[in-house]
Symmetry: D2
Subunit: 360 residues, 4 copies
């Protein structure tokens, strides 16, 4: 199944009742698939007139307590930043998928990971965060997509899944759970479902009294602290005491690193991989723990972008080991050979520096 | 002179020939002032139909090589994120002022600093950064505003100045340089000024060939590295070997901290202040240097937001000392007394922890 | 049943599967009613972000062969003129209801008939017409609403029903047909329903070859000529050889005239009423026939607007009798007494002029 | 000089200080010309993001008392209908040029006259009219353009000049008045120019009190009646007692008819031409007078559209003579030969019918 279609189907299985979109390469297959399936299921498919419209429709639809989502790609996601901030402020659950393309600006249509900052630090205004999930296979995209709807409801906050065009375009076998069950969730008594027999609810991000606005921000802040405690997800690959280098990479880039690590291993060089699955909350302590191990000479961050996640890795490593960067951007996907070369070069350097790092 | 008017006048003195805006509290006085002054000077004042329109007009106007700018407040800036990414990708000089209000969403209209992440990490998509200036007085707002236009041209990149509503609304005496002279700048031979007698220029962020897109991203990346070398600005206040605590604060918040520090000093407690003036590039090494000094027991980040700059401070301090946070948000401005109380509490705790920090 | 709700229910009975709207007084009850009923029936209710969006959504939805419609009021209808022209050019069936309010511009919210020109002459560009239906009671609004969908499909052309705020707001008993059956219609083989097993269809108004564009215009022109032959509808009230004056009035205005005519009759003055039900095609010949009758001294056009329909009446009467005008506008509904006074004044004048008329 | 450029230059000479536009074939040369000239003169050139934006900017700019205008083509003009209604209701002077292309919908880009209804009957809502000027040469376009600004100020009402693509694209010698002087106009004391030293003015189309809204409509109605008395303009060509046929045609179409008339004359057939220059107010009485002349056997309306002006001609002739129609549409310009053929066929028919006409 193609990645984009698998993501769409996963949303259906998770009970998404509304999908709002504006077409943009490389994720238009999601819209194509849902334009057929949503009406068949009596659910809402809506292609709006712009991403600004899409994101405000999400606000309205999420207010009714229904599971709703959108998918887009980099420039489209930028246009949604105001509304994402509004949805966060109004404590609304919503799922947003960004199948990233090269940027900035119009950029290109090939795969990239260069929206890391936008996703993890928040492209909108105000004290809010978005929980960010980064699958590295289509099966994982399916699983995380279903999880995303659960987390959105659990935290009443926008949840973002980011992938690159390769995740969206490639085909892999995928299994959907036969009998999908989520942990129990509280009733959506906050939703605007018609105020018959009860007091009206008000869903808003406007609080002119600064004490109330701060209170709302603190409620949100608690949620983000809770996410840091409960939602950190990552995967370790071939981590062992012989590792000389710890690679940190996510998404498609992590898969390519696995291939490189396998080949390096067969050639006698041991390298481990730390793959964050949640980018916010970022597995800081876990990376710190791995980086501190005696055998690790350096941490190598590898991205399809220019040293964005590296800032989080540096903050995680806290100077315990040198943090190096390798990456390509603009739609270029580094090959396993490039990764291997970078690792071998790094080992050769026998780096011992403890402080700042440089882009290679 | 009122802060918003001083900012407007500074832009005029720096030669701004086009101003595009959409009204939003608490910065509408800038537009009001310029709606009168720009036409008097034969320059362009334009109130557009939305912030999306404003930001795309900036793109077009900046393409002609003229100095252009906008001012807005938090939600308005979010709506500009796509265009800011486009302008960065097209290597366009432009100045953007964000007089921040409480958020997220519609939030409130009182002063805040909660767009720190958006400004410094980039709310748009792709590998780009925005140089961020944060004045703490009206005189500094004037000086930095004029500098902003120079830096925009020097780097051909969007430059953002962020202030809070207090900077915009309060009145202070301010001096404009009699004879403003900037360091020399290269000719704007890239600008679309009419292709008579030369080849047309093309200003764009679209590069379908990934090698060209990566090349463009690397050109930009070089600029950001150059900014880190050449543009870091900060101010030290009462830094001395008796300091027990190092406060890091910027903008209006830093001024309030100064008052608190003065009072603490007169009461026998020595505290120093590190005030970043550039938020990107962030004065990492300089903070690290101050934090490492033996007499410093802890670093206290104080913000009118919830632990946003603190992430950069933690990354700067690299575990050398505990990093603590104090802040209010949503339009509440901490008083000097609150700051003092926080400092005294921290000293009392005799914190010795080396690792993670918590919000107080 | 309230007029607006009756109109909504009639559309449902006629099989409308999509309703697109933007709220505006005095017709928002239609949207309110359908926001509940459409989802119950598994049909599409969509509140868009503007009337421009609504009208382009109608274009898209009508292209699929589904029965779709919108309701709005005067300024909203103006915003749809471009799209109405596009839909006419693309031969698309669609139903548009205009519950008119006083104008021009923002005007007021009280009942008016001042969009007569816009509706009947075409507010958009190009050689197209819109068939216009004007009910004078809620029962007739129901019947014409159902007819509108039939005519839209029969002619593949936008059909407009216009009423004033009184039709929309007042309550009357209304009967819906138990067993609604329409005359047979040709299959919608032109619709874009997915091109599986057949050639794709193209629905467009763009024809760069002027011969093809003229051909399309002539196809449309034939339809309008056919409408003139087959669709003219009107009602005569108390037409008899004793009539001294022939009143021409439509919609709510006609009902008020009936009251005035009844009272005049009981007072010994015989007046007949010609009530056009279709405003385009206009019952020219039929009015001409009535106006020519010897006993008629003058034709009195009465409108809740300023001498708009009067132009069509003059063209119909072709100078056979003087054509006089009485009307109020801006939300003022003439009373039966005002009508009576106007009639009596006109009889007193014993007008014999054959040519031009004046506004009273 | 090219027609579009001559129109632009005429506007400058008439003192236009603001021009707002959105590009559309076949009038983009106006924008191109003014994009250079307006800034040279220190006036405002603004390309907005849509025609909806353009027309609302016109509203705002006209409110300041400055002479402002726009040019567009058919679909663009449709998008302006709401704002035109608002400007009429707010009593604002503004000049709008429609260089018509084939329609409806996207249509084509070749010359047409098929927006006659939209221009003369009002495409917007409410009781308002637009004075419509129709030049048939570039020199006349220049003269009428300058007149348009005068009439806009005289009547405080939108004035529209309509031409077809041929007027816009062809080149002819043109003279601009050396010393352009207009009749005196009243001071613009209604304009919003800053309320220093006087009461603020309010410019609006909203009147919630129906008596005030009706009063505003009656003020407007008086203006339209005044236009009918003072502004009717037309040209007679080879009108003489030998004429068998009276042609009514305007704009480019009238020029082609002149050529046909000249050729017919040389071949012994006498035909006269009535060329309306104002389309609203329409020279009804003057056409009636010509049509009634004994020698005239029939009136032939010739259009580059499908029997639109013919409705006004029929209403003017009031059944005195048969009114026939010939026209092409969709971008096809009838040749003089086609016109001659039509005239000769009509004479041959020796039509004597007095009533209705048909499209040939």
């Amino acid at each position: 199944m193609k990645g984009n279609e698998a993501i769409a189907e996963a949303a259906l299985r998770a009970g998404a009742e509304g999908y709002f979109c504006y077409p943009i390469t490389p994720q238009s297959e999601v819209a194509e698939y849902l334009s057929r399936r949503m009406p068949e299921l009596g659910r809402v498919f809506l292609q709006a007139e712009s991403e600004v419209a899409v994101s405000n429709m999400l606000f309205g639809a999420a207010s009714t307590g229904k599971r709703v989502f959108t998918t887009s790609s980099s420039p489209g996601i930028s246009l949604m930043q105001e509304a994402i901030s509004y949805m966060a402020g109004a404590l609304l659950p919503v799922v947003i998928v960004n199948i990233m393309r090269g940027g900035p600006g119009l950029g290109g249509i090939l795969p990239a990971q260069s929206d890391y900052f936008q996703a993890t630090k928040g492209g909108g205004h105000g004290d809010y965060r978005v929980l960010v999930l980064a699958p590295s296979s289509i099966q994982e995209a399916v699983d995380l997509m279903m999880l995303a709807f659960h987390l959105a409801d659990k935290y009443r906050n926008p949840i973002m899944m980011i992938g690159d065009g390769m995740i969206g375009q490639m085909m892999e076998p995928v299994e959907f759970p036969d009998d999908y069950k989520e942990p129990p969730l509280p009733p959506k008594d906050w939703a605007a479902t018609g105020a018959r027999g009860r007091e009206p609810v008000i869903i808003k991000s406007l609080f002119l009294d600064p004490l109330l606005l701060e209170k709302n921000a603190l409620i949100m802040h608690q949620k983000y602290e809770q996410m840091k405690r409960e939602e950190i997800r990552f995967e370790l690959y071939k981590i062992n005491p012989k590792n000389k280098i710890l690679i940190v990479a996510y998404g498609t880039m992590a898969r390519i690193c696995q291939t490189a690590i396998d080949e390096l291993e067969s050639e006698g060089t041991s390298v481990g991989l730390f793959r964050p699955i949640t980018l916010f909350p970022f597995p800081e302590k876990d990376i710190n723990k791995e980086a501190k191990k005696k055998n690790i000479r350096a941490v190598l961050t590898i991205e399809m972008s220019l040293a964005q996640m590296m800032e989080d890795v540096e903050k995680a490593v806290l100077g315990a080991k040198p943090v190096k960067f390798f990456g390509r951007t603009g739609g270029i996907v580094p090959s396993p050979d490039e990764v291997k070369e970078e690792v071998l070069k790094l080992i050769k350097e026998k780096t011992r520096s403890t402080g700042k790092t440089k882009q290679n």
